[in-house]
């Protein structure tokens, strides 16, 4: 009889042998991965992915592996809300994203209701700044950028600016346009024309450029993504407008130059990212990124990488039961790829911004 019971014991043991490793930590990424904002989304996704992979190679956070769930917001409010709800249901620790301010506007109510911390690499709209909310912003606010841009343009003699903005990311573009107008006017310049278009609607491009051409401006200030900046600049040149073109931080991705070629030569823009950074830390990141994704990192990659690192640092430092929001506000300052930075009490990053110009097919830092 003994012999048989020993057999059964063995069988039971074998059944129990399949034990599980500690449950992984989940992080969500939300960004536009299809459509004309995919450049920003992909760069952000890649930066986030690299940070997560590096952390997993180093053993995870508190020995828990990190699992990244990636969702596409299609630059559509409904899709963004749906994706956010899916991430909340999957019980992620935090969401990295979205990549545009409009999407930020769209998902904020859902995230706030669920208490889900959202750390956006590239959202900058001032309507989302200076508030004690659940949204953290890694990029400097619109105001910082527009003040610098206005000052730079005024300094090089521009006085009659025309603004063209994209209605599909209104939260950002209207904010940017308003601040630029205010800053430029304050300096003594004048905004002589304002027009808007809807990304993807071919007709609205021509209308907008035709409209501002009539006001005879000496600066075309675009508030649009990279693809649309290329399109609008090309259209302006095709219509014979030779005036200088400046664009918003939104367009400062690698695709601006790849798609625009000579068309965007001389275009100026504002960004907090230095492509020519020679620091070992950035070079190492850049090398790893290029090897992994077969393309160079852009500002969105860097911002997403920094955003992800800040979350992982805060999670590692957070005391038991401490909410992530509180941990993020106290765990800083963070070692960013290019600078040491921290969140202010509203969760807005305070960082350096620069003016860059497209020169000989490269984005060069001028100021």
């Amino acid at each position: 009889m003994k012999v048989y019971s020993r057999f059964f014991g063995l069988a039971l043991l074998l059944a129990l042998a399949a034990c599980s490793p500690p449950e992984p930590l989940k992080l969500g990424f939300l960004g536009g991965l299809s459509g004309r904002v995919a450049d920003l989304g992909e760069a952000g996704r890649n930066g986030t992915l690299l940070a997560v992979e590096e952390a997993n190679t180093a053993g995870g956070v508190n020995r828990r592996k990190i699992e990244l769930l990636i969702y596409d917001d299609e630059q559509q409010a409904a899709a963004a809300v749906k994706a956010t709800e899916a991430l909340i249901a999957a019980r992620v620790e935090a969401i990295i994203g979205p990549m545009t301010s409009s999407m930020g506007d769209a998902i904020l109510p859902v995230a706030t209701r669920a208490g889900m911390v959202v750390v956006s690499p590239t959202v900058t709209a001032s309507s989302l700044s200076g508030k004690d909310d659940i949204l953290f912003k890694v990029a400097p606010s619109v105001e910082t950028s527009t003040r610098l841009s206005a000052a730079f343009e005024y300094a090089r003699g521009v006085r009659r600016a025309a603004i063209v903005n994209d209605l599909s990311n209104r939260a950002y573009t209207a904010d940017w346009a308003g601040h630029f107008r205010r800053d430029f006017t304050a300096l003594g310049g004048e905004v002589v024309a304002e027009a808007s278009f809807t990304s993807g609607d071919d007709a609205s491009y021509t209308e907008a450029i035709t409209k501002i051409a009539k006001a005879k401006p000496d600066l075309l200030h675009l508030v649009a993504n990279a693809v649309d900046t290329v399109r609008l600049t090309q259209l302006a040149r095709n219509l014979g407008l030779t005036l200088p073109v400046t664009t918003s931080t939104w367009a400062a991705t690698e695709h601006l130059i790849q798609l625009g070629g000579r068309t965007v030569e001389g275009v100026t823009l504002t960004q907090f990212f230095n492509r020519d950074d020679a620091s070992p830390r950035y070079r190492a990141f850049s090398t790893a990124y290029t090897a992994r994704f077969k393309q160079e990192p852009g500002f969105a990659s860097v911002a997403a990488y920094d955003a992800t690192r800040s979350i992982l640092t805060a999670l590692a430092k957070a005391g038991k039961g401490q909410p992530l929001k509180e941990a993020l506000l106290t765990a800083g300052p963070y070692e960013g790829l290019q600078d040491r930075w921290n969140f202010d009490r509203y969760g807005d990053a305070q960082r350096q911004t620069h003016i860059s110009v497209v020169r000989n097919g490269r984005l060069v830092l001028v100021e």
């Binding site: 991965l33 299809s34 007709a203 693809v227 090309q234 095709n238």
Partner: protein
């Protein structure tokens, strides 16, 4: 090992056989079949990947052909013509979403868009595409290979024209490049129609690891970068595919190829292991088969076992009956199993043989038993090695009193039976062990045992071993009762011992000598040894002459001669010598007796040396005694006369001392009176002289003229003075009255009724002068109303003696102290008066002597040593009471005087004394 029933064991056998067989066969099936299924699945996947690749190639080749056609048309065509061609190719954008010709410098020369977007064509004309990787690749290929350059397919890229993710094909022609863009949605839709519902899926990835298309849409899968996926890397590098791909915790089997023209990676994947339905169904089949056969064997096994067991049970049943003695019943019928039939037959034959042998053995045993049973007076018992009694014959019953029923089966270590104690049973069992080891019989030996009625029995026992059952031995013990013989022997020995003891205990010295052996000593008794200081072993074998016993050997010759002649003197006196040479006068009496043919001389010698000496002394004393009595009587009468004289002297001295003590008391009395009277009389004198002064003044004023006020004042003063005088004189009279009472009491021992408290108060009054001089306080705590009938004079005298003694002895050198006189209410005619002080107390050695006359510690300092003696006499005599003292030296003294409330009546003459 646990004992199992045949039925259980058969069931277990069947179940185990089935379980083991199936576990073995099932494991082998699974071990062989499961990897085979995985291999088949993997092969299927690989085939699907190749098929998908072919499909994709075919589809893309169609698109490529259209662009190639365009490329051939480019040369020598105007931009407008080109545009028309391109627009024709794009059509409504079903296959391609844009087609365009890019000049060598990268600028767009001609552009075809779907009908709905024609308007945008103008906007994009002239755009610079020189930085687009696809253009750069096409240019590089054209430079390297000239006109035969192949079409280049791009990775997934963001199109500047559509603003969407797209893949493009570029065909260089001359220094220009024709590019067609295919929307990714198109490719996706092609795959999504592939094998819907299958477990496996197809995934197309570009060289950078970006998702391009999949047969199954996975919302998050689209945005994963696959560059890090091992399968992707293996396909790209042309290596063997990894066995499994692990994605989101699930294991997948994979297949994949690199699409030949496009340089895209086409992978197929399907869940591995239990995720696969083929895999899972195989496991279910094996496990189900196992469970089914187990169930079947569980149902069949008991039935089969029951069939096997039934004939066996019948046989067992029959065998049981044989054991119980039933040899005659029929044996079970023949059954289906030949071995069992054989066994039945053999058992039947065996029973017959046993029956025959049993009969033979029974007879032989009967003979033996009859012999043993009928043996008279030899008790026979059989034991086994543990001491268990196996047999107990009649003689044993008679000798020991235990019946066979009581004895047989008992273990002598547990039940003592005839053995008096455990020690003996243990010894006996030890003996059994010795016999078993050595094989030699034990005994015959004597043992003292016990009968059932408790009386002792001595047996002569022999024990030996005979073969028992198997290897064991039976021990036979044969006992003969020798109690009577032993008792007779013991009695004889006992009487001899008694005689010897009497001989030795005799107070007279006795010797026994052998007449035939020249009167040499056979033995002497202890008294002889003591008397002559010679030891028995020293004198045995010697005669009186040889040991030097006779002071005068002639005495011996005389005695022997007398003995020989038969005219033995009753007693003869002779001087004999002790061992230390001392001479002693002995009276000798001798007698020859014959015991068992031996002529023995029994001689008794008594040492009469001392007796003779005392007799002489007594004689001398008697003559001396009368003279001495006369002399002593004279001396005693003289002493008596002297003593009478000294007693008379002492009595005279005592009287004188008592008298002086009385005088001392009287002195105290007078001093007390004088002191107490001093105050009131002094006051009276003072007032009287004051009054006299006033009288002179008023007289003077009468001469010169008396005022009314002066007269009033004088009269007031006069009244006052008179009242003071009256008070003081009254007090003096009162005091004198008291003293007189005391004096009278003291002097006359008058009997009267008095209050005890008042008597004590009077003593206090009298003693006040003495007390004042000392720091002592006297407290009268006698309650009022205790009336005594007796002699207050002696009582006050008693108290005064006590107070005086306390003042003199107890408080010497102290700065304060108190004396307390208390009395308890009369109890059965007696009053207890308690006098106590808190002074130094009386040393213990003095306490017993204080009532003796003339005992004083103040000899030569005025102490007569009579105070307390007088007190004792007064209390015990006149007052008829008792006195006791107790003192804790250092903590005061207490006198307790018990007095009858009514003093005894005493003759007048005594009082006069």
């Amino acid at each position: 090992m646990r004992e199992l029933r045949l039925r259980t064991s058969l069931i277990l056998l069947l179940v185990t056989a089935v379980t083991l067989t199936f576990a073995l066969v099932g494991s082998m099936i699974l071990a062989y079949r499961l990897p085979q299924i995985e291999a088949n699945n993997r092969a299927d996947l690989q085939e699907r990947a190749v098929n998908a690749s072919r499909l994709l190639d075919h589809y893309m080749a169609g698109i490529e052909a259209q662009i190639r056609t365009q490329a051939r048309l480019v040369a020598n065509r105007s931009p407008a013509e080109l545009q028309a061609f391109l627009e024709a190719v794009v059509g409504d954008g079903e296959t391609m979403q844009a087609a365009y010709v890019v000049a060598a410098d990268g600028s767009v020369e001609a552009l075809g868009l779907p009908g709905t977007r024609r308007q945008a064509e103008a906007e994009l004309r002239g755009a610079d595409f020189s930085n687009i990787p696809l253009f750069q690749s096409a240019r590089a290929a054209a430079t390297a290979k000239g006109d035969v350059a192949p079409a280049i397919w791009s990775d997934n890229f963001l199109s500047a024209i559509s603003g969407k993710l797209a893949v493009g094909v570029a065909v260089p022609t001359g220094d220009k490049v024709v590019i067609g863009e295919v929307a990714l949605e198109r490719v996706l839709s092609m795959f999504s129609s592939l094998d819907p519902g299958s477990e496996s899926f197809v995934l197309v990835i570009d060289r950078q690891g970006q998702w391009l298309a999949a047969s199954r849409d996975n919302p998050t899968g689209r945005f994963i970068n696959y560059a890090a996926m091992p399968t992707f890397q293996a396909i790209l590098a042309g290596r063997a595919l990894p066995e499994y791909e692990i994605s989101q915790g699930e294991r997948f089997l994979v297949g994949g190829v690199l699409a030949s023209n496009l340089n895209w990676v086409i992978t197929t994947a399907a869940p591995s292991g239990t995720g696969s339905s083929r895999y899972l169904s195989t496991i279910f089949l094996v496990v189900g088969g196992f469970a089914g056969s187990l169930l079947l064997s569980l149902i069949l096994a008991p039935l089969w076992a029951a069939r096997m067991v039934r004939p066996l049970k019948a046989l067992i049943e029959r065998t049981h009956r044989v054991i119980e003695g039933d040899y005659g019943s029929p044996w079970p019928r023949r059954g289906a199993i030949s071995e069992l039939n054989q066994l039945t037959m053999d058992l039947g034959r065996m029973v017959e043989v046993i029956q025959t042998r049993e009969a033979g053995m029974a007879r032989s045993e009967e003979r033996l038993r009859a012999t043993l049973e009928n043996t008279p007076s030899i008790a026979v018992q059989w034991f086994d090695a543990s001491g268990r009694i196996l047999y107990w014959n009649k003689a044993s019953e008679i000798i020991y009193g235990f019946t066979a029923a009581e004895a047989v089966g008992a273990v002598i270590g547990e039940k003592l039976l005839m053995y008096p104690d455990r020690q003996q049973t243990d010894d006996f069992i030890g003996v059994l062990g010795d016999i078993e080891r050595s094989g030699k019989p034990f005994g015959p030996a004597e043992f003292t045992l016990r009968k059932k009625d408790g009386s002792e029995i001595v047996v002569l026992a022999t024990t030996f071993a005979i073969p028992g059952e198997g290897d064991s031995k039976i021990f036979v013990c044969m006992d003969v009762d020798v109690t009577e013989r032993k008792r007779a022997e013991a009695n004889l020995l006992d009487s001899e011992k008694k005689l010897e003891a009497i001989f030795n205990a005799s107070p007279a010295a006795m010797s026994v000598t052998d007449v035939k052996n020249n009167f040499r000593v056979i033995t002497v008794n202890a008294a002889w040894e003591r008397q002559f200081q010679r030891r028995r072993q020293d004198v045995a074998g010697l005669n009186g002459l040889e040991m030097g016993l006779w002071a005068d050997p002639a005495d011996r010759v005389f005695l022997l001669a007398a003995l020989r002649s038969g005219s033995t003197p009753d007693v003869m006196e002779a001087e004999l010598l002790a061992g230390d040479g001392r001479r002693m006068l002995c009276s000798i009496s001798a007698q020859i007796t014959e015991i068992r043919g031996n002529r023995l001389l029994l001689m008794m010698t008594v040492d009469i040396t001392e007796r003779r000496r005392i007799e002489n002394e007594i004689r001398e004393l008697n003559t001396d005694l009368e003279q001495r009595v006369a002399r002593r009587t004279g001396q005693l009468s003289e002493a008596n006369i002297e003593l009478a004289a000294s007693v008379e002297n002492l009595r005279t001295a005592q009287k004188q001392l008592v008298q002086s003590e009385k005088l001392a008391a009287l002195g105290n009395l007078v001093a007390g009176i004088a002191h107490e009277l001093n105050t009131p009389i002094g006051n009276a004198v003072t007032v009287a002289s004051t009054l006299l002064d006033h009288h002179r003044q008023i007289s003077g004023q009468l001469q010169s003229g008396l005022t009314r006020s002066s007269l009033n004042a004088f009269i007031d003063t006069l009244g006052e003075a008179a009242s003071i005088l009256e008070r003081n004189l009254h007090r003096a009279a009162e005091l004198i009255g008291n003293f007189r009472q005391i004096a009278v009491d003291q002097a006359s021992y008058q009997r009267r009724t008095f209050d005890l408290r008042e008597a004590v108060e009077e003593v206090r009054l009298v003693m006040t002068p003495a007390i004042r001089k000392s720091p002592v306080e006297l407290k009268n705590e006698v309650p009022e109303g205790i009336l005594m009938d007796g002699y207050p004079g002696p009582l006050t005298q008693v108290l005064m003696i006590l107070v005086n003694n306390s003042l003199i002895h107890a408080f010497a050198g102290r700065d304060r102290g108190s004396i307390r006189i208390e009395a308890s209410a009369p109890l059965s005619g007696n009053v207890r008066l308690r006098f106590s002080d808190d002074g130094t107390g009386i040393p213990a050695e003095n306490l017993e002597r204080i009532f003796e006359p003339f005992f004083t510690t103040r000899l030569g300092q005025g102490g007569s040593g009579l105070g307390l003696h007088i007190l004792f006499n007064l209390v015990t005599g006149l007052l008829g009471g008792r006195v006791a003292v107790s003192s804790d030296h250092g903590n005061g003294t207490e006198f307790v005087i018990d007095l009858p409330q009514s003093a005894p009546v005493i003759a007048e003459t005594v009082l006069q004394d």
